[in-house]
C-alpha cells in the first residue's frame, strides 16, 4: 500500500472541508414578473413584447426588484415629508412604538442580556434580520472597551451600551431584509410579486390571496376602503383559520409590521401595473406622466386616512341579555326573508353554505380573483375573520371585499314583521349576528328554562 497517497488524499479532504466551512450561498437577484392574466386582457399589449419590457422596466424603476424593493419618492411627497419607504415605521404612534420595543426586547432578550453583561462576543446573530446584524456589527467595530463610555459626546447619559441595546430594541427591518423574510416564509404560496401564484398555491383551497388587484377581504373598515396597516398585521398574527394561512406570531412585531409594509408595496405595485395595462395605448407607448399619475393615484388611495373603521357605539349585546331569544328570532326572519337580508340565497336554509345560488349556479361563478365562490358554512362555527361578535358584525355590516357578500348597513329592506320598507340598522345587524352564531353554538341562550335539557340534545 502507498501511505503517501493516503496522506495526500486525507490532506486534500481536510483542506476541502476547511474551505467548505467558509462557504455561504449567495442570493441571486430576483425580478418581479408581469401580471400575465391582466396583460392577456389587453390584446394590444399582449402582442407587444417591446411594450411589455418597457412596462416591466417602468415598474422596476418605481418599485425595485424582489430582492431589493424600494419605492420611488415623488417630489410632491418630499414636500409633504412622506416617504413610502418608511411607511410603517413613521406612522407608528408612540404607544405602538413602545409595544414594538417591548416585543423586540423580548425577541432579542438573549442578545440584550449579553450586551448588558458586556460580553459582545456572546451576542448571537439573530435570524431573518440581516440589517440588524450589520448595524450591530458596524457599531461593535468602533465600540470602546468600556461600554459605559458615552456614545455621543454631547449626551453623556447615553452610553455605548445603551446604543447597542437600542439597535435591538428599536429594530424595524428595512425593505430588503423584509423581502428576504417574505421570500423565505411567504413566497412559495403568494409568489414573488404577490400574485397568489407561488409553487404551493395551486394546491391550496382556498387559493392564497393575490395582492395585485389591491383588494383585501378581511378588514375592519367599511366603504371598501384599503386595509389599514393594523388589518394586515392582524391577519399575519392570527392567521386565517381553516386556510393554509398560519399565524406568523413567531416573528417579532417589528418583522410582522414590516411584512405588512411589504404586502402593501406588492399591492401598490400590482395595482399600478393593472392600471398601466388597462391604459396602454400602442400609439403613445409607456408615457412617463401616465405612469406617475397612476402611481400617485394608487399610493393616494392607500394613504387615504381610514376614518371608516366600523365601531359599535353601544355595549355589544350578549347572549345573556334579556332580549337574546327575540334577537335570534328576528335575525332568523331577516336571514330567511328574500326582501330583507336574504342570506338564505347563498348560505342556505340551514346555514350550510348551500343556498339556491350555489345549487343553481354552476361552478364558474367566481369572485374577483377568479376563484369559485363558496358561501361560508355557518354551522361549523368557523369565522375566518374572527369569532367575536364585533367581527361577525363587521362582516355583515361591510360585506366581504371582492365577493358577492354585500354591505348590509343601510341596505334597503322590507321589514319582515311590519312589512315597511326601511334601511337596515345596526340593530338589525346584531340580530343577524345572534342568529348566525346560534347556528353553531350549542347553548346560545343560557338563561332560558330549557337549559337543563340542553345536554340531552347532543
Amino acid at each position: 500500500m502507498n501511505r503517501n497517497r493516503h496522506l495526500v488524499a486525507l490532506g486534500a479532504a481536510s483542506i476541502a472541508l476547511a474551505a467548505a466551512c467558509q462557504f455561504e450561498p449567495t442570493i441571486v437577484e430576483l425580478h418581479y414578473s408581469l401580471n400575465e392574466e391582466a396583460i392577456q386582457s389587453n390584446n394590444l399589449l399582449a402582442d407587444d413584447k417591446n411594450a411589455q419590457e418597457h412596462l416591466s422596466g417602468a415598474l422596476e424603476f418605481l418599485f425595485g426588484t424582489a430582492t431589493n424593493p424600494s419605492y420611488v419618492v415623488l417630489p410632491d411627497w418630499r414636500d409633504e415629508e412622506f416617504d413610502p419607504n418608511n411607511w410603517g415605521y413613521y406612522l407608528l404612534s408612540d404607544e405602538e412604538f413602545d409595544a414594538l420595543k417591548e416585543s423586540n426586547a423580548w425577541t432579542y432578550r438573549v442578545q440584550i442580556a449579553a450586551i448588558e453583561a458586556g460580553d459582545l462576543d456572546a451576542v448571537e446573530e439573530p435570524r431573518y434580520a440581516g440589517d440588524l446584524w450589520a448595524r450591530f456589527q458596524s457599531l461593535v467595530a468602533d465600540a470602546p472597551d468600556d461600554l459605559d463610555e458615552p456614545f455621543d459626546e454631547d449626551d453623556p447619559e447615553w452610553s455605548y451600551r445603551d446604543e447597542l441595546i437600542a439597535v435591538f430594541e428599536s429594530y424595524y427591518p428595512n425593505q430588503r431584509t423584509t423581502a428576504d423574510l417574505y421570500r423565505q416564509q411567504c413566497f412559495h404560496c403568494h409568489g414573488a410579486e404577490g400574485g397568489g401564484n407561488g409553487s404551493t398555491a395551486d394546491f391550496l383551497n382556498p387559493r392564497p390571496r393575490d395582492y395585485r388587484p389591491g383588494t383585501f377581504k378581511f378588514t375592519a373598515l367599511k366603504d371598501k376602503a384599503k386595509p389599514r396597516h393594523a388589518d394586515l398585521v392582524r391577519i399575519l398574527k392570527e392567521g386565517i383559520y381553516t386556510t393554509a394561512m398560519p399565524s406568523f406570531r413567531r416573528f417579532s412585531d417589528a418583522q410582522l409590521n414590516a411584512l405588512a409594509d411589504y404586502v402593501r408595496l406588492l399591492a401598490i405595485r400590482g395595482e399600478t401595473e393593472i392600471l398601466m395595462i388597462a391604459d396602454f395605448d400602442p400609439d403613445e407607448g409607456m408615457v412617463p406622466e401616465l405612469l406617475q399619475e397612476n402611481y400617485e393615484l394608487v399610493v393616494d388611495r392607500w394613504r387615504a386616512a381610514s376614518d371608516s373603521m366600523i365601531e359599535y357605539d353601544g355595549d355589544v349585546p350578549r347572549y345573556d341579555d334579556h332580549d337574546a331569544a327575540e334577537r335570534i328570532t328576528r335575525g332568523e326572519e331577516l336571514y330567511l326573508s328574500e326582501k330583507a337580508a336574504n342570506c338564505v340565497k347563498c348560505h342556505g336554509l340551514e346555514g350550510r353554505g348551500d343556498g339556491e345560488s350555489v345549487k343553481n349556479n354552476p361552478d364558474d361563478a367566481t369572485d374577483d380573483w377568479g376563484d369559485p365562490i363558496k358561501p361560508r358554512d355557518l354551522t361549523r362555527g368557523v369565522f375566518r375573520f374572527g369569532r367575536r361578535p364585533i367581527d361577525i358584525y363587521r362582516r355583515i355590516y361591510a360585506g366581504i371585499n371582492g365577493t358577492p357578500m354585500p354591505e348590509h348597513f343601510g341596505m334597503q329592506i322590507i321589514d319582515p314583521e311590519t312589512a315597511e320598507t326601511r334601511n337596515m340598522t345596526e340593530d338589525d345587524i346584531w340580530d343577524l349576528v345572534f342568529f348566525v352564531r346560534s347556528l353553531s353554538d350549542e347553548k346560545p341562550v343560557v338563561h332560558t328554562e330549557t337549559e337543563e335539557h340542553g345536554e340531552a340534545s347532543h
Binding site: 479532504a13 472541508l17 462557504f23 450561498p25 430576483l30 448571537e124 409553487s199 404551493t200 361549523r380
Partner: protein, 610 residues
C-alpha cells in the same frame, strides 16, 4: 421429499451432484445477461440497479442537507433539476417529497435489494453448494418484478402535485386524503403500487432463498455448518415471508382508501384543506366512507417495517461475521449463539413494532409491553457484538479493505444499537421521539452499519463476482473517507436531537429553540457532501477493477466456505467438482494442520467436531 424431487422438475440437478461447466448450448445475449435465470447474473443485476438507486437516494439526501444548512437558497446543480420553477430554491412541498423519497428509495430500493437481492442471490447457492436457486425462473421474475416498482416510483415524481410527500411511513390521513398534501395525489398511488411490486419481488426472492437453503444444501452441509451469512439471509427471508403480506395488505387498504374511498384509515369529522371526506368533493357528490382509524395503518405498517429493519441488518451481520472470521484467520466465536441470537432478533422483531408508536395515542399501557420486548431485543444484539469481539481476540487480522469495512460495521453497529436503548425507554422517548436522535440512530444502523457491511462484502466477494481483485489502495482511501465523513454526518445528530431538533422540518431555524443549531447543521451537510463525493474512489475502483484488476484466483482470501471452491467467476452450474462438506465454515488456524485454514470440503481430523 428429496432434494432431487424438487430440483428435477425444474430442470436442475439435485443438490450436491456433480455439474461440470461445459457450455453445451450457447445462450443468446438476452438470455445470458438480461433475462437470465442464473442466480449469479441476477445477483449482479440487483447489484447494479441497487447501486444506481443508492446514487439517486444519496443525491436526494444531499438536497435535503442543502435545505437544512442554507434554507431557501439556490441549491447548486440539484436545484435546477428538482426545483426549476423557483430557480433552484427548495419548495416546502418539494422538501417533504425529498425526504419521503430518500427514505423510500433507501429502504425498498437500496438496502433490502442490495442485501437480500444481490448477496442473497449470489451467495446462497455458492455457499451451500447448490448449482443454482431452487426456482431459477421465479428468481428471474423476482428481479423483473422489481422493475415495475422502479418505474412506478419514478412515475410518482412526475405525477400531478409531485412525488409522494407523506414520509416513507405514509401515515394517513395525510397520505390518504388527496387534499391533504400535493404529494397525496397520484404520486401516492404510484408509491403504493411501487411498494406492492417491490413486495412481490421480495416475496419471490424470499420463497426461493428459504427453499434453496432448506432443500438444496450440499451433502454434509448441515444447518449448523452453514456460514452465518446464510443464516442471516435465511432469517431475513423468513421475516419477509411472514411480515410482507401485512404490508401488502396495508398498502392495498391504503390504495382502496385513496381510489375507492374505502375509509379504512379515515376518521369521521375531519376537514382537510377545506375538503370533508364525508361531504365529498362537491356538495352533490356522494361522500366517502369514514369511520376508520389512522392508528390502524401505523400498526400494520410497523408490523412489517419493524421486522424490515432486521431484514436490513441481519444479512449484514452475517456478512460481517464471515468477513471478520476470514480476515481474522480465526473461527467465529460462539457460532451457535450467533445463529440463535439472529433467530431471537427475528422472533422478538415481531413483537416490538409498538415502540414506534409510544406517542401515537395508542393506549400507553401497551407501551410498557412493547418497551420490555424492545429492551429484550438489545440482548441478542449485545451477544453478537461480544462474539465479534471474542472472534478478534487472539486473531491474526489482515487489515484489508473488506476487513476494515467489516470492523467499521461492528464499531458503528455498537453506536446504533446502544442509542436504541434510549428510545426503547418510554419516558425518555417522550422527549426524543421523532427528533434527530432517531435519525442518528437508524442511520447508524442502516447506513453506518448495513452500508458499511455492503461495502465490505463487495470488497470481499468482488473477486468471486468479477474474477478480478479490487485495488487495495483505493479501497483503503475509500474506507478512510467514508468512515470519517459517516461519523461526521451522523454523530452530531445525536446532540441535535437532544437539543430537541425535530426531523422532517424544512426550516427549523424559525423556532427559537432551534435557531442556534444552524452552524452544526452546516457542518453536517458539508460532511454529507464530502461523503457522497468520496464515493468517487469506490466508483473508480469498482469499475476500474472490473477491467484492469489483477486476475483473481479461486480462493484469494484463503477462505474455507464453498463459494471459494469454484472458479472466479463461477461458470454456469457453479461447481466444477464433486462436493462434500465435512465440517463447519470457520476452520482457521487449526492446530496440527500446515495451512492456517481447512476448507469445508476437506476432511480433517484436527477440526473439533460440531
Amino acid at each position: 421429499m428429496s432434494n432431487a424431487a424438487i430440483a428435477r422438475p425444474l430442470g436442475l440437478d439435485p443438490a450436491g451432484t456433480v455439474h461440470v461447466t461445459h457450455d453445451h448450448h450457447e445462450l443468446g445475449f438476452l438470455r445470458k445477461y438480461i433475462f437470465s435465470v442464473d442466480h449469479k447474473v441476477i445477483g449482479i443485476q440487483f447489484l447494479f440497479t441497487g447501486l444506481i438507486m443508492l446514487l439517486f437516494g444519496g443525491l436526494m439526501a444531499m438536497a435535503v442537507r442543502w435545505q437544512l444548512a442554507w434554507p431557501w437558497t439556490q441549491m447548486p446543480i440539484l436545484g435546477k433539476v428538482l426545483f426549476p420553477e423557483t430557480g433552484g430554491v427548495a419548495t416546502p412541498e418539494g422538501y417533504t417529497m425529498l425526504f419521503t423519497m430518500h427514505g423510500t428509495l433507501m429502504v425498498f430500493f437500496v438496502i433490502i435489494p442490495l442485501l437480500t437481492g444481490t448477496f442473497g442471490n449470489y451467495l446462497i447457492p455458492l455457499m451451500i453448494g447448490a448449482p443454482d436457486m431452487a426456482f431459477p425462473r421465479l428468481n428471474m421474475m423476482g428481479y423483473w418484478f422489481w422493475w415495475p416498482g422502479i418505474v412506478c416510483i419514478l412515475l410518482s415524481f412526475g405525477a400531478q402535485g409531485g412525488g409522494p410527500a407523506a414520509g416513507w411511513t405514509a401515515y394517513p390521513p395525510l397520505s390518504t386524503i388527496e387534499a391533504a398534501a400535493p404529494g397525496s395525489n397520484w404520486g401516492q398511488n404510484w408509491w403504493l403500487l411501487s411498494l406492492t411490486f417491490v413486495g412481490v419481488s421480495s416475496m419471490m426472492g424470499a420463497v426461493n432463498y428459504v427453499t434453496t437453503i432448506v432443500k438444496m444444501r450440499a451433502p454434509g452441509m448441515g444447518f449448523f455448518r452453514m456460514p452465518l451469512s446464510i443464516w442471516g439471509l435465511m432469517i431475513a427471508a423468513l421475516l419477509q415471508l411472514f411480515a410482507l403480506p401485512v404490508l401488502t395488505a396495508a398498502s392495498f387498504m391504503q390504495l382502496f382508501d385513496r381510489v375507492f374511498d374505502a375509509g379504512f384509515f379515515t376518521p369521521p369529522d375531519i376537514i382537510i384543506n377545506n375538503f370533508s371526506p364525508e361531504a365529498g368533493a362537491t356538495v352533490d357528490s356522494v361522500g366517502n366512507a369514514t369511520g376508520g382509524h389512522p392508528l390502524l395503518w401505523q400498526h400494520l405498517f410497523w408490523f412489517y417495517s419493524h421486522p424490515a429493519v432486521y431484514i436490513m441488518v441481519l444479512p449484514a451481520m452475517g456478512f460481517a461475521s464471515d468477513i471478520i472470521s476470514v480476515h481474522a484467520r480465526k473461527p467465529i466465536f460462539g457460532y451457535k449463539p450467533m445463529a440463535y441470537s439472529m433467530a431471537a432478533i427475528a422472533g422478538l422483531g415481531f413483537i416490538v413494532w409498538g415502540h414506534h408508536m409510544f406517542m401515537s395515542g395508542m393506549n400507553p399501557s401497551v407501551g410498557l409491553v412493547f418497551m420490555t420486548a424492545t429492551m429484550m431485543i438489545a440482548l441478542p444484539s449485545a451477544i453478537k457484538v461480544f462474539n465479534w469481539l471474542g472472534t478478534l481476540w487472539g486473531s491474526r487480522i489482515r487489515l484489508n479493505s473488506a476487513m476494515l469495512f467489516a470492523l467499521a460495521f461492528v464499531a458503528m453497529f455498537i453506536i446504533g444499537g446502544l442509542s436504541g436503548i434510549w428510545m426503547a425507554s418510554t419516558p425518555p422517548d417522550i422527549y426524543i421521539h421523532d427528533t434527530y436522535i432517531i435519525v442518528a440512530h437508524f442511520h447508524y444502523v442502516v447506513f453506518a452499519g448495513s452500508v458499511m457491511a455492503i461495502f465490505g462484502s463487495l470488497y470481499h466477494w468482488f473477486p468471486k463476482m468479477f474474477g478480478r481483485m479490487m485495488n487495495e489502495t483505493l479501497g483503503k482511501i475509500h474506507f478512510f473517507g467514508t468512515f470519517i465523513f459517516t461519523n461526521g454526518v451522523f454523530y452530531m445528530m445525536h446532540q441535535l436531537g437532544l437539543a430537541g431538533l425535530m426531523r422532517r422540518t424544512a426550516d427549523p431555524y424559525a423556532y427559537e429553540t432551534y435557531a442556534h443549531l444552524q452552524p452544526m447543521n452546516q457542518f453536517i451537510s458539508i460532511c454529507a457532501f464530502c461523503l457522497l463525493g468520496w464515493q468517487i474512489f469506490f466508483v473508480v475502483n469498482f469499475f476500474g477493477s472490473m477491467i484492469w484488476g489483477k486476475r483473481a484466483p479461486r480462493n484469494p482470501w484463503k477462505a474455507t466456505s464453498l463459494e471459494w471452491e469454484t472458479p472466479s467467476p463461477p461458470g454456469h452450474g457453479n461447481f466444477d467438482k464433486e462436493l462434500a462438506v465435512y465440517h463447519g465454515p470457520y476452520e482457521y488456524g487449526v492446530p496440527g494442520v500446515e495451512a492456517d485454514f481447512v476448507p469445508q470440503t476437506q476432511k480433517c481430523e484436527h477440526v473439533s467436531a460440531h
